[in-house]
């Protein structure tokens, strides 16, 4: 394998505390090494920013609902299909790109890892088929467990060890990475057309509350010592006044301590917090509660969050929060797709236009930015668009620009039709903070890597770590918003596993992607295996023998093996 020496770049690596100092980075055999031999290919990174490959902690990029979003929106591809370069496949789609475009676009922005945030276990094979076909980037997927029948029965009976054995079994079956919770209890209620809007609403029939589910799953997660914490999409998403539900949920993390061998500190990752930081009690008096929410997050150190920034585009919302999508369809009357998944979860899809001419959309845009700008710990605050829910991930360059430039934010505020109302309902106009590249690196590299339990090899540039490196044509001196956006969207170089995959924004190598999954060994558990057998015989529509996702579906698999038998 070839050897490289990246010279003269400004290095931003919060994992080592390197803040814009000039450092040479040597690469050999896919890893970062102390020094390169004289035969190494020299890459001149003068005036350029050098960072680790970025990690996407939460996006919907593979699987059944993503694909529904793709195929039921041919109009999203109309005049949005092209081929760039000799070695690439045809790319298509704006808000829900095809797998080829997904891999290429992440790579062009300097991303080397992406987490598919919601994998319905029954559809795990589909998720992995798409991951298999997504070029360049490493991926993993979180099975949704927050409305699972097994889980609800075990937790109701306070059987954490049984639940842990079941989760371990499920991760192995689905080649999954961790525990995703979406609208706990509410999605099961949706199977009867109902919902759980607070964490104390009882789940129909199952006689359990969302609060109990969340607490039980935190205990399960730490019992197993998984690399990632529970990853939660809270109840009451997207509704005015929901910030109280958000605070109630976040408080459930109090008193829990992370137990794992990965250096992960949080016990709860709260995702797309923008959708959960709403004040007011209707769309008329809708306002930002980002400050209240971030005040709590800043104090409570065992929580991480991601933002869910609104990008002001026409997009396609999709979530396992079935009742929310039904609610959204009631607001905009655009086409509503829904799939309830037996014993496990549900999902809905509805197109949505975040128009700069609509007050609420402007406020949502502001809230997403405020979360990042109020953050006191960029290592616990990550940038996402909850792709494609608040906007496509391909808008990260624009979000980074808004975060790094007050001028860019002011320009956008001015462009709103109801600027005054947006300003009144938020604090964004009065925030002077401009994030630095070091902070951006924390929010997109070192931070998410630590939260995912991957900081040993990913998210940093220390010798021994994986040679996933992004080099950008900008540095802390760059202030022109357009220049920031352009540079962040078109890496000068992207190294993946020590190979150059992107050069000047052009894909030059399809890379060697890895699928990550977690294999936990637990004590033999006859009870759980009996329950599995029974539920498959009686209630599932597929045989137990056909549930497993074979390893052939996980290209160049990276298995994180754990032992939870002690």
């Amino acid at each position: 394998m070839s050897e490289f020496l990246i010279k003269n770049g400004y290095v931003y690596d919060p994992s080592q505390g390197i803040n814009g100092e000039r450092h040479d980075i040597a690469v050999k055999d896919g890893k970062i090494v102390e020094s390169a031999s004289s035969g190494a290919t020299v890459i001149d990174a003068k005036d350029k920013a050098v960072m680790a490959g970025a990690l996407e902690i939460h996006a919907h990029i593979a699987g059944p609902k993503v694909n529904v979003g793709r195929w039921y929106r041919p109009e999203d591809k109309l005049f949005h299909s092209y081929k760039r370069g000799e070695s690439t496949r045809i790319e298509g789609g704006f808000s829900i790109p095809t797998v080829f475009k997904t891999g290429y676009e992440y790579a062009r922005m300097g991303y080397t890892f992406a987490m598919e945030a919601a994998m319905p276990p029954l559809y795990a094979r589909h998720v992995h088929e798409e991951i298999h076909d997504t070029p360049i980037i490493d991926e993993a997927a979180l099975p949704v467990i927050g409305n699972n029948w097994f889980m609800m029965e075990y937790i109701k009976n306070n059987e954490i060890e049984n639940n842990a054995a079941y989760v371990a079994w499920l991760l192995r079956q689905t080649k999954g990475y961790g525990i995703k919770i979406v609208n706990p209890g509410g999605t099961e209620a949706w199977a009867w057309g109902l919902n759980c809007l607070t964490i104390h609403d009882p789940v129909p029939y199952f006689d359990i509350t969302p609060a109990e589910i969340i607490t039980g799953l935190i205990q399960t997660n730490e019992f197993l010592g998984l690399p990632h914490s529970v990853h939660i999409h809270q109840n009451s998403l997207g509704l005015p006044g929901n910030y109280t539900v958000t605070l109630d949920t976040l408080k459930l993390a109090e008193g829990h301590t992370a137990k794992n061998r990965f250096g992960r500190k949080q016990v709860m990752h709260s995702t797309h917090l923008q959708f959960h930081s709403y004040g007011g009690d209707n769309w008329g008096n809708f306002e930002s509660k980002a400050r209240e929410v971030m005040d709590y997050v800043n104090r409570q150190e065992n929580i991480t969050i991601d933002t869910g920034n609104v990008t002001l585009d026409e997009t396609t919302t999709m979530t396992a929060d079935g009742p929310f999508e039904h609610h959204l369809h009631g607001l905009n009357h655009l086409k509503w797709a829904n799939v309830d998944v037996e014993l496990e979860t549900a999902a809905g899809v509805v197109p949505y236009i975040y128009s700069p001419n609509i007050k609420v959309c402007g406020i949502q845009w502001a809230i997403g930015l405020e979360l990042a700008l109020f953050s006191k710990d960029p290592m616990r605050t990550f940038i996402t668009t909850d792709h494609p829910n608040a906007g496509p991930f391909t808008r990260y360059p624009r979000i980074v620009t808004w975060l790094m430039s007050k001028k860019a934010r002011d320009d956008q505020i001015k462009a709103f039709k109801y600027s005054d109302k947006v300003v009144d309902a938020t604090e964004v106009a009065s925030i002077d903070r401009e994030l630095t590249l070091y902070e951006i690196a924390a929010m997109t590299r070192a931070g998410p890597a630590a939260a995912l339990g991957l900081s040993q090899n990913y998210g940093g540039l220390a010798p021994g770590m994986n040679a996933d490196i992004a080099i950008y044509n900008f540095n802390d001196e760059t202030t022109d918003p357009a220049a920031i956006e352009k540079a962040y969207g078109n890496v000068a170089f992207l190294f993946k596993d020590g190979k150059i995959c992107v050069r000047d924004g052009v894909i030059v190598d399809p890379g060697m992607k890895h699928t990550f999954w977690v294999d936990v060994k637990v004590k033999e558990n006859k009870q759980v295996m009996h329950d599995v057998r029974e539920k498959f015989l009686k209630y599932y529509s597929v045989n137990e023998g056909n549930y497993l996702v074979p390893e052939s579906y996980a290209p160049h698999q990276h298995v994180i093996a754990l032992d939870a038998t002690q």
């Binding site: 095809t98 589909h126 369809h329 509805v350």
Partner: protein
């Protein structure tokens, strides 16, 4: 010692039953018995035993007879045809694995093919409708566990999906449906009194071609609006009565088939059925599911969608973009409008299932067909490449009618020397690459 292979998935219809047990001879060459399959599924597995299976590619001669040729010759002929043609229809895919499709798409992207699947003459209408209005739906296990109102509209599962009613929709006892059939009210809407209608509690005989009007009446009734006395032969009192019954259910579902997709209005019939389903969610829980036909037509739609964003009729003829327009890039339109220069068929038989005008057009163009058996298409093709049967002699991923992916299994060895779809397509792709490099 004969061996029993369990958890076998049936490669016939979109029900994709995955509980078959198949006994095979110890040398893996013969299927001895098939358990749990319906009559059609059993026939499929048993058919492998039939004598006279074609095991070599064949090329049609000027006198109309076929001559055996080698795989190399057949693959070279195919690759040259694809490279030369400026616009090629690549139709079929419903009876092969998702892995094979993926290779086929790579070929299409190289040579400028239009990839279309059997949805084009089956549930394409449904896909158009879903693109227009979405679809509230669920997996089949949800029906088994929860449904107490089940409507079969324009479909006849007793004939087309024989185990559907026992596995999912009428008879099974589920978690919340411990009474099984007794706890469900079954409706059948059709222009014929079918075998499915016979097991329904309520049969609504609609005049052929009046489903859109009848569903419009259902929607109007659900909103409490006035109706004319009779709609498509159904008295308005019946409409009001049925809609009220549906509202009192806890969980309803509509299964629909080609009685809606093939009749006047096509996609609009599905569109309005979906709209009715959506309306019913204001009163109770309601879902709708298409009774997809071929066992992996859904899979073709899925793979095309994640690779190009469209579920069928994907036009890659411009090489640098993927386009889609049903009515333009759909097989029957392409053929009857003479918009393609060559035809490549795989894993289906348009000769038997396309209107004859399309096949007359096809027969005038260079044509290659990949299929395990002799059929109506192979006999009017220039080259027939026989392959192993997917789901019987080789495995691979398939998607059920509710989009749940299930692995099909290899149960027996294919006849000596026979390649799989994946192998043939890979060799065609390699040959295409070679020819293009040479050019």
């Amino acid at each position: 010692m004969p061996k029993v292979v369990t958890d076998v998935t049936c490669p016939f219809c979109g029900t994709l039953c995955d509980d078959l047990e198949i006994t095979v001879s110890d040398d893996n060459k013969k299927i001895l018995s098939v358990k749990n399959a319906c009559a059609i599924g059993a026939e499929k597995f048993n058919h492998t035993k039939e004598p006279g299976r074609v095991t070599h590619p064949r090329m049609r001669q000027p006198d109309g007879t076929f001559k055996e040729i080698s795989y190399d010759e057949a693959i070279d002929f195919t690759a040259r045809m694809l490279v030369k043609s400026r616009k090629t229809l690549m139709y079929g895919w419903a009876s092969t694995s998702c892995q094979a499709m993926s290779i086929g798409h790579e070929i299409a992207e190289k040579v400028g093919g239009i990839v279309d699947n059997c949805a084009t003459v089956c549930h394409g209408s449904s896909l158009i409708a879903i693109q227009d209005v979405g679809i509230p739906s669920c997996t089949l296990g949800e029906i088994k566990n929860r449904a107490d109102r089940v409507i079969f509209w324009g479909c006849n599962p007793a004939h087309a999906h024989p185990r559907h009613m026992s596995r999912y929709s009428i008879f099974p006892r589920g978690f919340f449906t411990v009474k099984g059939h007794k706890g469900r009210k079954i409706y059948c809407v059709d222009c014929r009194h079918t075998d499915t209608a016979r097991v329904a509690d309520t049969f609504i005989q609609v005049q052929q071609g009046y489903d859109y009007e009848l569903l419009n009446a259902f929607r109007t009734a659900a909103r409490g609006g006035p109706l004319p006395d009779e709609i498509g032969g159904v008295p308005k009192e019946k409409v009001y009565e049925v809609v009220e019954e549906l509202k009192t259910g806890r969980f309803g579902v509509i299964f629909f088939g080609m009685g809606l997709t093939h009749t006047l209005g096509r996609n609009h019939n599905i569109d309005i059925a979906i709209s009715f389903t959506r309306d019913m969610n204001e009163f109770t829980k309601f879902n709708i599911i298409a009774m997809r036909g071929h066992w992996n037509v859904t899979g073709s739609g899925q793979v095309l969608s994640w690779q190009y964003g469209f579920p069928y009729a994907v036009d890659l003829s411009r090489l640098d973009k993927a386009r889609y327009q049903t009515g333009e890039t759909t097989s029957v339109d392409l053929l009857t409008r003479n918009e393609v220069e060559a035809c490549f068929y795989i894993a289906t038989d348009p000769g038997a299932h396309f209107p004859i005008a399309a096949m007359i057009s096809s027969s005038k163009k260079p044509t290659v067909t990949i299929d395990p058996h002799i059929n109506c298409t192979t006999e009017i093709s220039d080259v027939h490449i026989p392959v192993a049967m997917v789901g019987v002699e080789t495995g691979g991923c398939a998607y059920r009618m509710d989009n749940v992916p299930i692995e099909t299994r290899k149960v027996v060895d294919p006849p000596e020397g026979l390649l799989t779809d994946e192998e043939v397509l890979t060799r065609i792709l390699n040959r295409v690459n070679q020819l293009m490099e040479e050019a």
